[in-house]
């Protein structure tokens, strides 16, 4: 007799625990308002990334097409993967002195691990992260980017 009661109790408790689980899924079924899925390509216009989001490394230029990169090469040294390469040139300043400046600041996005060491260690804050995250391209060569814009110059007062 005892064992029959135990047997029935086991069944009832088991079914009860299953019903509790069904309550959870059932309640979500009737509450589609709780869905947090974003319909990504459709919400592209009003999609705001966090301002610290590490999308890709960029070199901010001001409206006069000037940047802050002096070509010191610290970012190149600090990059763990060698995704940054600086090709420098020497230019003559107005007062006739020879000075080092960047010719090309090459950034290989495909090798970047977004460790932020280049941005953090840059002595003149020439690099920054943009919030752009749609990097897919059909040609791998397009991922090798030159960060300084053509014809850009060093901002005045940055050493």
């Amino acid at each position: 007799m005892r064992s029959i009661i135990d047997y029935l109790k086991e069944i009832i408790l088991g079914v009860w625990s299953l019903l509790k689980g069904m309550k959870v899924t059932g309640s979500y079924f009737f509450r589609p308002g709780t869905i947090i899925t974003q319909k990504y390509p459709n919400n592209r216009k009003d999609l705001v990334m966090f301002d610290r989001f590490k999308g890709e490394v960029v070199m901010p230029h001001n409206e006069k097409n000037e940047h802050k990169c002096t070509g010191c090469g610290i970012c190149e040294i600090n990059c763990p993967n060698g995704s940054i390469e600086i090709i420098s040139k020497s230019i003559l300043t107005e007062d006739g002195k020879k000075k080092r400046a960047i010719d090309k600041h090459i950034y290989r996005l495909s090798m970047c691990t977004f460790c932020a060491l280049c941005v953090k260690t840059c002595p003149s804050n020439a690099l920054a992260f943009s919030q752009e995250f749609e990097h897919a391209v059909f040609n791998r060569a397009l991922l090798i980017k030159t960060l300084n814009k053509p014809g850009s110059q060093l901002m005045k007062g940055v050493e």
């Binding site: 069944i11 299953l18 689980g21 069904m22 959870v24 899924t25 059932g26 979500y28 079924f29 589609p32 709780t34 869905i35 947090i36 899925t37 319909k39």
Partner: protein, 379 residues
């Protein structure tokens, strides 16, 4: 003749308005039958009727399959707090059609060292088994391809045949996972077929007939789940559990067991052959759900309550076909709810559940039901 299943006395006259046909399809089928008779001989009439029914069922089969796949994806998505398919068409309703085309265009990968005859035969056995079962299901009054006097037995027997296809698929694939999946499936169906049969026998005792049309007709005054109260309700639950197991659906999807056996018996199938298994799974679900709806929930009978004439009139106004589909999808929804809530059982627990719990409960339940019927304690 295949069409005349409803007794001739009740067949309505042809002068009824056209929409009456939705409440009783027998006048329409009689009309087709007699006009075919006038045009050709007895032999060709039968052949033509068989063809018409075959094409109709095929169409219905494909439509239901497509819809059920979509419904499952949407239901599971909402239960999992996500959106589900939403790209192809409004609310993603054409997603399954897109998937179908994808499966049609996919390569059929030949398997090295597989038994190619059995390998190719298996999906057809699975799908033919579900075809045969669908023939005996009463969709609405007069919409019933074949009304056998042992309809219930026929449906159970035929729907269990699909396991042969599963076993063949697992055996012939030359894949170790597939073989384990097939063997599990065999053990599973052999045991759960008992429970399905016994839980339906409980109702057969109450109805006093195995003919599906008579079972439905007997529920005119009340569905069996209400008429037979406690034992009928227990039988309904047991039937739900064991039919979920019989169709290899979660939490009893051991034959597929994605996390253990990758895809179980259909690991090696690709393209349209895989689609056959996939489709057959959903049609099997539809079949067991419609058996549950027919046997326990009154089939196409509307919901009538004793003497509430106004209420009953409103309920009668809804066409029987809608009632039938509604009940079937209610049962399908419950089965989906099971699948998307519970973790999977282990094979020994699966058999324990059957032999130590469902079978004894069922046997006692049959006894109780027989006692109730003898004493006349049902409604």
């Amino acid at each position: 003749m295949l069409f005349d299943i409803v007794d001739v006395n009740s067949s309505p006259s042809l002068s009824d308005p056209w929409w009456k046909v939705f409440y009783d399809f027998s006048s329409l089928t009689h009309k087709i039958d007699s006009s075919l008779h006038n045009a050709m001989s007895q032999f060709w009439t039968t052949i033509a009727e068989m063809l018409i029914i075959g094409v109709l069922i095929l169409l219905f089969y494909a439509l239901i399959g497509l819809f059920l796949v979509y419904a499952e994806r949407k239901v599971c998505a909402f239960m999992q707090n996500r959106l589900g398919p939403n790209r192809v068409g409004p609310f993603g309703i054409f997603q399954t059609i897109a998937d179908l085309f994808k499966l049609l265009f996919k390569e059929l990968i030949p398997i090295k060292n597989a038994d190619s005859f059995l390998f190719n035969l298996a999906p057809f056995i699975v799908i033919i088994a579900s075809f045969m079962a669908i023939a005996a299901i009463p969709f609405a009054k007069g919409l019933h391809a074949i009304d056998l006097n042992i309809g219930v037995l026929y449906v159970i027997a035929v729907s269990a045949m699909g396991v042969i296809g599963v076993l063949l698929a697992g055996w012939s694939s030359n894949n170790k996972y597939s073989l384990i999946g097939a063997m599990r499936s065999g053990a599973q169906i052999v045991s759960y077929e008992l429970s399905v049969g016994l839980s339906i026998i409980t109702i057969v005792i109450l109805a006093g007939s195995m003919q599906l049309s008579e079972i439905v007709e007997a529920q005119r005054t009340g569905w069996f789940i209400f008429k037979g109260h406690i034992p009928a309700f227990i039988a309904f639950i047991v039937f739900l559990v064991s039919s979920t197991a019989e169709t290899n659906r979660g939490p009893f999807d051991l034959a597929e067991a994605e996390s253990e056996l990758t895809a179980g018996y259909h690991t090696e199938y690709s393209g349209i052959k895989f689609a056959f298994f996939f489709l057959a799974e959903y049609i099997n679900m539809f079949i067991v759900a419609s058996i549950a709806a027919t046997v326990f929930l009154g089939g196409w009978m509307p919901f009538n309550v004793g003497h509430w004439d106004g209420f009953n009139h409103v309920m009668d106004f809804v066409p029987p076909f809608v009632w039938y589909i509604g009940k079937t999808f209610f049962v399908i929804f419950i089965m989906m709810w099971f699948k998307w809530t519970f973790p999977r059982l282990r094979i020994d627990q699966l058999l324990t559940l059957e032999w130590k719990y469902l079978l004894p409960i069922n046997l006692v339940n049959v006894l109780i039901m027989a006692f109730l019927v003898l004493m006349g304690w049902h409604f």
